[in-house]
Amino acid sequence: MTGEKFVKPIKPKVDINKVNTHIIPFEFEYFEPRTVKEAVELLTKYGGEAKILAGGTDLIVRMKQRFIEPKYIINIKKIKELNFIEDRGDYLAIGAATKLREIEKSGIVKRKFEALYEAVRSMAGVQIRNMATIGGNLCNASPAADTAPPLLVFEAKLKIVGPNGERVVPINEFFLGPGKTVLKPNEILTEIQIPYQPEDTGSAFIKIARVAMDLAKVNVAVALRTEGSIVKWVRIALGAVAPTPIRAYKTEEFLVGKELNEETLKEAAEIVKTEVKPITDIRSTAEYRREVSGVIVKDALLRAYERISKG
């Protein structure tokens, strides 16, 4: 074969001969603990070789794609203490294994945490939302996780249980990088605590994607309180523009005390663009993500503001 230049074997990113999305072609042991305690014991016993099965909409996919091959599967769907939506006075507690569909159907989420409601509604399709859990969405630690920005703006706390008891982590400390969280191999996320916001808080979530059922190119949540048209308090969080979902602190700082007019929004959008660190991938370009981050922050602020005005 004259003229064929030999190149160093390139390393394919996916092993095309191992992927088989018809089946899970490897064995594993399967457990259905009934309590968090049992689940933690199993995790402690099997450590890094075990994976928690909550909704399965991510775990099973990655098993079929052979990105992971756990030897032990711990199905937490039957743990009743992980599946609830509960008013605890100061905050709303959501069990980590609560399905997205239950969250979207919950009246209290829709009334009190509109950004979270919108985020959940923007996710996948009905079937997936019937399976996927909020805890799963967070623990996968995708930079594009749709529930993360609203929980960031509501400054939710995450309850984590391990062999040595429980700890509570603020959500802005939870994510470490793509697929990485502060969870230790023997720990389990058990509940999400979302503080109730003052009555005059408005919130909104906006997602930009290729089609209606898609992962975000960029997503944003804002929570806002105003006095008249002056920003009293604001939280802004974005996804898919950095290795983890992020808060836009500088933009928030800039906005406080400003009148929410076209000029302010325009400036805020510019500041957001300096806070994001997006990449180019198959879903979008860094340039586009940066540009649109500003636009949807502006849009989300306006939407949240409208909601305050409407009461």
Partner: protein, 165 residues
């Protein structure tokens, strides 16, 4: 390293041995002869494998068979009563909502559940509800029409049933 699971499939009790790593889709198709749920992507993007588990639509390609132990599974094979088509099934035929037919069982189950949750859906509601099911033939127009038609017919049935009471 699996176990015998017992569940109801389209109303009849089933008990069958499954391995831990077997998926509901494959067990239904290969071991139980229920082939209406289709493989379309295997990763939860197309909705062709939709079945109802305890009345809720889920994706059988991402469900371990072992998980349906003690539950009820429904597929389109279980919809027609006494060989009479369900209103939704009829509406799909009458509105020309079927082309190749590969995605049809998934859509019909979604439509059925949609109308159970909301008997009076507007078009936005319908389109949001079925966005997890892909169809490459119809552009969805006649599918949306069929669901609207089924909703009308169900309403008519309900009001007629009330009148005869």
């Amino acid at each position: 390293m699996g176990k015998v699971i017992r569940f109801k499939l389209n109303g009849r009790p089933v008990s069958i041995y499954v391995e831990n790593n077997e998926l509901l889709l494959n067990v239904l198709r290969e071991k139980l002869g229920v082939v209406s749920p289709k493989y379309g992507c295997g990763i939860g993007e197309c909705g062709a494998c939709t079945v109802l588990v305890d009345g809720e639509p889920v994706l059988s390609c991402l469900t371990l068979a072992i998980e349906v132990d003690g539950k009820e599974v429904t597929t389109v094979e279980g919809l027609a009563k006494d060989s009479e088509l369900d209103i939704v099934q009829r509406a799909f035929i009458e509105e020309g909502a079927i082309q190749c037919g590969y995605c049809t069982p998934g859509f019909i189950l979604m439509a059925k559940k949609l109308l159970e949750e909301n008997p009076d859906p507007d078009e936005d509601y319908i389109r949001e509800y079925i966005r997890g099911n892909l169809c490459r033939c119809t552009g969805y127009v006649n599918i949306v029409r069929a669901i609207k038609r089924a909703a009308e017919e169900l309403k008519f049935h309900v009001s007629r049933a009330k009148q005869t009471q």
